[in-house]
Symmetry: C2
Subunit: 476 residues, 2 copies
Amino acid sequence: MLEFALPLEKDKDKPIYMQLYEYIKREIISGRIEPNTKLPSIRQLSSNLKVSRTTIEATYHQLYVEGYIVSQPKVGYFVNTIADNTFDNKKTSSINKADNIQETVSKMVEYDFRNDYIDRQSFDFTLWRKYLNKALMLDSERFLTYGSHQGEIELRKEIAKYVHQSRGVVCTPEQIIIGAGVQTLLSMLCGILKPHYTHIGFEDPGFRQARYIFKDHNFNIIPIKLDNDGINVKLLAESKAKIVYVSPSHQFPMGSIMSINKRIQLLNWAHENETLIIEDDYDSELRYSGRPIPSLQGLSEGSNVIYLGTFSKILLPSMRISYMILPPKLLALYKEHKKKYNQTSSQIEQIALSLFMKEGMLEKHIRKLRKIYAKKNQLLITTIDKIMKEKVTVMGTETGLHILLELKSPHTPDKITSLAEKVGVKVTPISNYFINSSHNKYPLVLLSYGGIPIEHIEPAIKLLHKVWFEDNFHLG
Amino acid sequence: MLEFALPLEKDKDKPIYMQLYEYIKREIISGRIEPNTKLPSIRQLSSNLKVSRTTIEATYHQLYVEGYIVSQPKVGYFVNTIADNTFDNKKTSSINKADNIQETVSKMVEYDFRNDYIDRQSFDFTLWRKYLNKALMLDSERFLTYGSHQGEIELRKEIAKYVHQSRGVVCTPEQIIIGAGVQTLLSMLCGILKPHYTHIGFEDPGFRQARYIFKDHNFNIIPIKLDNDGINVKLLAESKAKIVYVSPSHQFPMGSIMSINKRIQLLNWAHENETLIIEDDYDSELRYSGRPIPSLQGLSEGSNVIYLGTFSKILLPSMRISYMILPPKLLALYKEHKKKYNQTSSQIEQIALSLFMKEGMLEKHIRKLRKIYAKKNQLLITTIDKIMKEKVTVMGTETGLHILLELKSPHTPDKITSLAEKVGVKVTPISNYFINSSHNKYPLVLLSYGGIPIEHIEPAIKLLHKVWFEDNFHLG
């Protein structure tokens, strides 16, 4: 075995690590140690030279980075033949391998009813490119900074107009905060509310991605049961919660709509107890029948309600732009904290979106979306009716991009989901969204039809029918 | 005063709110109530009709949203003349007012040495537009989903290569997490580490935006004093901290570089106590003299170090793309939590950046930046030497986009900053970054020269000299 004999001087100007590094480097360059010679292990050398393992690691690492030695995992370090550049090849091949694994996994799903796609025909990439280019050609100097903490003023103006027209939300641009997704905005909200609030009520089942953020920030999470027309306000009022998180216009995941009476009860609760309501209004622009449901925020003229909206469903989920509208009474508190948190949404995309909205493109786009999704929604429901008949009940069909299926089956939602997966259909079990365990008589699964091509709907439902109701068990 | 007489039926199918709304609407449409008639106040009507104020608010709001009535702040609601559309005008004028205030504020600063700009000549927007377009033309279908939780694989591969070449960081793409800024990544890290860690050490002074996030997540923040060559490892070891946040290659804000001996001490601390080091390596690609400083991450071959990097300084701060590299031992823990947190960086910009890097454009861009900033750096230092002479000491000059000025003056850093502001020069007082109060003999201020045009440097330094050393006080 190779041995090093060198005088290491602890009090010299040069640290041990550097002395050892220079010594070995000289030995390699001079040819005194030949290519492919195995270096002593870190443990051995550390004990031979009586220096720490970290020092040896640092030395070897520096030699490795500069290409003097190469590493064979679980074997050790070897002196390099410099011209070979073995190092780079190794790196590339391990990267490609990881990539292939990813591809294999995603190829197994043939029909995808998962919750994170939008329709592939819906988005006009050429048009969007035009707006990105426009944004970049306007006043590009603004993009040289981090941009407004709160979000670009042009976009906040357009959002104020948009939410007013489409959702009856009452606000000024000063109340709007833009951020890269609802989670990012909630993180900031937690930071702001924390010293003043400790308990938050959540719909059970409900949107878990929001719950995680409050849990991360040490809030006490209080699950509140749902009635058919939304959260049980009586249970909420009896709890310790001083904030509540609701999705009144299209409850996620149950699909129910909060009745106007319950809305008023909830607003009364907030008004009388000086508590806060967080209204997650994630997809109610996409409504296919009946009158639009007024937002809670609008109903209360903005007091006591923190309103959350997003462009993920109505534009592009991969463009990370969401917004939070604060009630006037929280503005002073927000201003105290504002500069603590950098903006997270891309500034170029914010400006592009503001131009897109200003020129009426968003309105036009949503009209187009309503047509596309209404057609899919209708086809999905009639296909299920036709094929599965009385074996299922379909719920939450009037709004948004998903419906709920209740199966007259003795299985759990997880079992139902894994059966679907066997035939290449991806659905989401409702159990994913419960805080306490569910007490539903029958299993519930979520079918999101945003991303699935319309021609996939019938074959997918046929497969589901077969695996759920024909192959495996008899109906009750 | 106008009075309403209507039969409200509590048990009717229609809620009170809706009955009242329909009644008033009919009265207005029929002309029975004339335009400009003042409606009873919410309080009055609530007491007259014996229904809650929230119900009246909801009614008025709905009428207001639909344009039947208008509001005069602090006066009340009036029946609208429908054709006038007073409502929209009001909205717009209040928005414009807010906008003008913003502009007035930003015009007061003539010479800007603040910490959030990059050079206006440095970025080629035409080239970047080309890459955004390229990204959109590739495989646009991928943009229809939320994208990878961890960040697009193409970009993670490029980052792995880049950090290896430029910073000696050793990692695979599997260890890299992309996010919209360091704060967003730290928020996620807090969620992951929380059950296992409670105390974190921070450099004092240090990067406060990181500290806020840990504080928001209920971590105990332990300030650790700095020596001339970085954080005092002895104090750290004596504290309860099981994680430490450091900026070893260019301490923020002091500008010092952690010595190799201290680096090894710090890595030993982590190794021996199974603790974690968060290495914030925010700008060390921009180095103007001497050898590049190897990263802590590389020195330890990735064990015990969480490495943070960003494209804010070397590309565009308004494009929100940063990355966090986890040590292998944290990967299993991350995978448990991965799906809780949606990706926050724009997917289109991630792909554009990966192409930009793959085609060697980032490397080229950084070479260009080094030239631009080295010139500014040099001019700034020589100008200060020439004009302020022995009245100041300049520190932290070898790396990045800011220097530190120590003024031989009896004033506080805040006073120094407000004096500068008086003559239209914006600098940042060091006191902003301290956890405990500073015990420096002389005031320190930060001058960031990223954004300031090179021809502004001399006039700005002259103004500073005048207001700091000529007008106001004698030197000691």
